[in-house]
């Protein structure tokens, strides 16, 4: 039979049993729609992470103290102390691939302005820090080298801190606030950055010279971290090597001895987060794929029922000249029609939900053409695979026995 006629025949058969066809398609519809929605969510969050990471500075490099002593617990961050001003000096002197560098010491505590108070953290840094972290000053100025040398009690405030310490909307510039009972003069206010991807409020900070925080608050000569930026994104790896070599030297580590610090690039962080979100996507997609398979089995089931129901029709068609192949194609195309129609509806639903989810749930989504193409192929294959056996069964019927079937 000609292909057009086969298509027409399949459409007719489905039209006759609209509800049944729709219910059969349901598995495929749900499967395809969820595959597309899941992949859109996965891709969306991946892009959102990348965006926010690069907004934090894509050439950023962080150096943290790190120890991996045998027998002891792995320690990280401020509990071990290995980074000092010597490291910064050495890096400033020798490193070719580093554009900016700043230490970071931090301390949490209560900030007070008259009757208003707010629990926050102070970050002791050098002026380069603002560039590295892509922070910008909204009003006022950044502290100077002179302030660093004199451990001046000056600070810049993030928007959250401003909002909480100056609820009346007064201008904070020039005002004195207290942090852990030490008075600081506000010399600047930072532009708002919003939440980080990890749900952290990036505006809940006070920034001050690191010397001030070290001397007046922590009484320590160590840094929690060192932030640096590579001269450009491509130089990140070279910069890491340089930093490692320089720090091993200043820390007098012998060959074979482990690093007492850890160097991380933003690119690494990005890959790490992306691989996590890829894994999530893969997992969700796998779950969605299972519903596709179940949809396929549904089609197979209905096609078997349909073949049995239409045994007489098959017998008649054969007795007036249909070959086994014609019958096989008739039922196969019907099955493919079900699965592909289901696929189309599923794609429409999936794409619609990819538009609705960002609005309703505030999750970013990005529709990938890849997921749509894949869904289509999978649908067609599902139809062929699960439709083949019922169709084969139909094509093998004996005309006279089929005609006599009741």
């Amino acid at each position: 039979m000609k292909f057009v006629n086969l298509i027409r025949l399949a459409v007719r058969a489905l039209q006759r049993n609209k509800l049944r066809a729709l219910l059969t398609m349901l598995g495929i519809i749900i499967g395809v729609a969820s595959v597309i929605a899941m992949m859109a969510i996965g891709e969306g969050s991946k892009q959102a992470i990348n965006e926010s990471l690069s907004s934090m500075g894509s050439n950023m490099i962080t150096i943290m103290p790190y120890s991996n002593e045998p027998g002891g617990a792995r320690l990280m961050g401020s509990s071990i102390q290995s980074l000092t001003i010597k490291d910064i000096d050495a890096l400033e002197e020798s490193a070719q691939h580093i554009a900016k560098i700043s230490p970071l010491v931090s301390s949490s505590g209560q900030s007070i302005n008259g009757a208003a108070n707010w629990p926050t953290s102070i970050q002791g840094v050098s002026p380069d820090y603002l560039d590295i972290r892509k922070l910008t000053v909204k009003e006022g100025i950044i502290f100077s080298e002179q302030d660093l040398r004199s451990s001046a009690k000056v600070c810049l405030l993030g928007k959250t801190v401003v909002d909480n310490l100056f609820p009346g909307g007064q201008d904070p510039i020039g005002k004195i606030i207290r942090f852990k009972n030490i008075p600081f003069q506000v010399i600047g206010v930072l532009n708002a950055k919003g939440q980080s991807n990890f749900g952290q409020d990036q505006d809940d900070i006070i920034i001050a010279p690191y010397t001030t925080v070290q001397k007046r608050i922590l009484s320590s000569i160590y840094f929690n971290q060192i932030y640096a930026s590579a001269t450009n994104e491509g130089a990140s790896d070279a910069a890491v090597d340089e930093i490692t070599a320089t720090l091993r030297e200043t820390h007098r580590l012998r060959t074979g001895e482990e690093n007492d610090f850890q160097v991380r690039t933003q690119a690494e962080l990005m890959t790490m987060l992306n691989s996590t979100s890829s894994m999530m996507t893969a997992l969700l997609t796998a779950v969605a794929s299972i519903s596709l398979i179940i949809g396929g089995i549904g089609i197979m089931n209905i096609m078997y029922v349909s073949v049995t129901e239409r045994t007489r029709e098959i017998g008649l068609r054969m007795s007036i000249g249909a070959r086994g192949k014609d019958i096989l194609m008739q039922f196969l195309i019907e099955a493919i029609m079900i699965s592909v129609t289901g696929g189309v509806i599923g794609v429409i639903l999936g794409v619609t939900s990819a538009f609705v989810i960002p609005v309703a749930l505030n999750w970013p989504t990005v529709i990938s053409e890849f997921s749509i193409i894949i869904s289509f192929i999978v649908c067609a294959v599902t139809g062929i695979f699960f439709g083949y056996y019922p169709a084969l069964k139909a094509s093998k019927l004996d005309p006279i026995e089929a005609l006599r079937y009741e």
């Binding site: 039979m1 007795s319 007036i320 000249g321 070959r323 006279i400 005609l403």
Partner: protein
């Protein structure tokens, strides 16, 4: 009106095994049909007429014996070859009509042509319309079987058998449900087809109908009881003309 042998059956037997029981529907039937003959097969219910006709129509194969169609041993053909044979050479009218439900008369008649790759959409429709007109069913093209009377359904089935212009028409009680006038009309159509060279094998119960054919084979209990050439063959057209006019047709 007779030519070369078109059908040749030799000692054909057909047995149906149902569990431990064996039904012997045909117990050794032999006869030939020449091209251009109009044979009626008669016999009481259960005598094996349908079984024999199915065999002649290449729908069923004999348990034993030889069936040559146009000098080809049907036993040696594969499924696809048989399908092609049924599609192009044989027009079969089933005792139970076997129309596709919920499908218009026109589409039912078009059906055999759908499986003939040489015939396009236009020609298919034209030929189906012509066949339906030949059985006096114009104006019923869009009716589905459940909107047609038994006799009308039977005529759709006949039209379907004619549409592929077969060399041979096999009809199983094609007038079984028709009134005398319509029966005669069908027989007149058959005679016309026969005079145009088509071979016809026609199963019937009614001796009256058998009178229109050129030969009658009597089956009894799975065997040929009598095989007689019809010397005073009646013309269905004349019989039709001699019928009293009635308004209720």
């Amino acid at each position: 009106m007779t030519g070369r042998k078109i059908l040749e059956i030799q000692n054909v037997k057909r047995e149906f095994t149902m569990g431990t029981e064996t039904v012997r529907a045909l117990k050794g039937v032999s006869f030939d049909v020449n091209a251009g003959e109009f044979v009626t097969i008669m016999g009481s219910s259960g005598s094996g007429k349908t079984t024999l006709l199915n065999m002649l129509g290449c729908l069923d194969k004999p348990t034993e014996g030889v069936y040559l169609l146009d000098n080809v041993n049907v036993k040696e053909l594969n499924r696809d070859e048989l399908a092609k044979l049924r599609n192009t050479k044989i027009g079969f009218v089933f005792q139970a009509y076997n129309l596709l439900p919920r499908t218009s008369a026109l589409e039912n008649v078009e059906l055999p042509l759908l499986y003939n790759p040489l015939i396009g959409t236009e020609e298919r429709k034209e030929r189906a319309i012509a066949a339906l007109k030949a059985v006096k069913l114009d104006g019923r093209f869009d009716h589905t079987p459940n909107q047609l009377s038994g006799g009308q359904q039977q005529r759709v089935a006949i039209a379907r058998a004619l549409v592929n212009e077969p060399v041979m028409i096999l009809a199983d009680e094609a007038t079984g449900n028709l009134d005398t006038r319509t029966s005669y009309e069908i027989m007149s159509l058959m005679q016309e087809l026969n005079s145009n060279g088509k071979t016809i094998v026609f199963v019937t119960h009614e001796p009256d109908i058998a009178g229109f054919s050129s030969r009658t084979v009597m089956l009894r209990d799975g065997k040929v009881q009598k095989d007689t050439v019809n010397t005073d063959r009646r013309s269905a057209k004349e019989a039709l003309a001699s019928l009293p006019e009635s308004d209720d047709y």
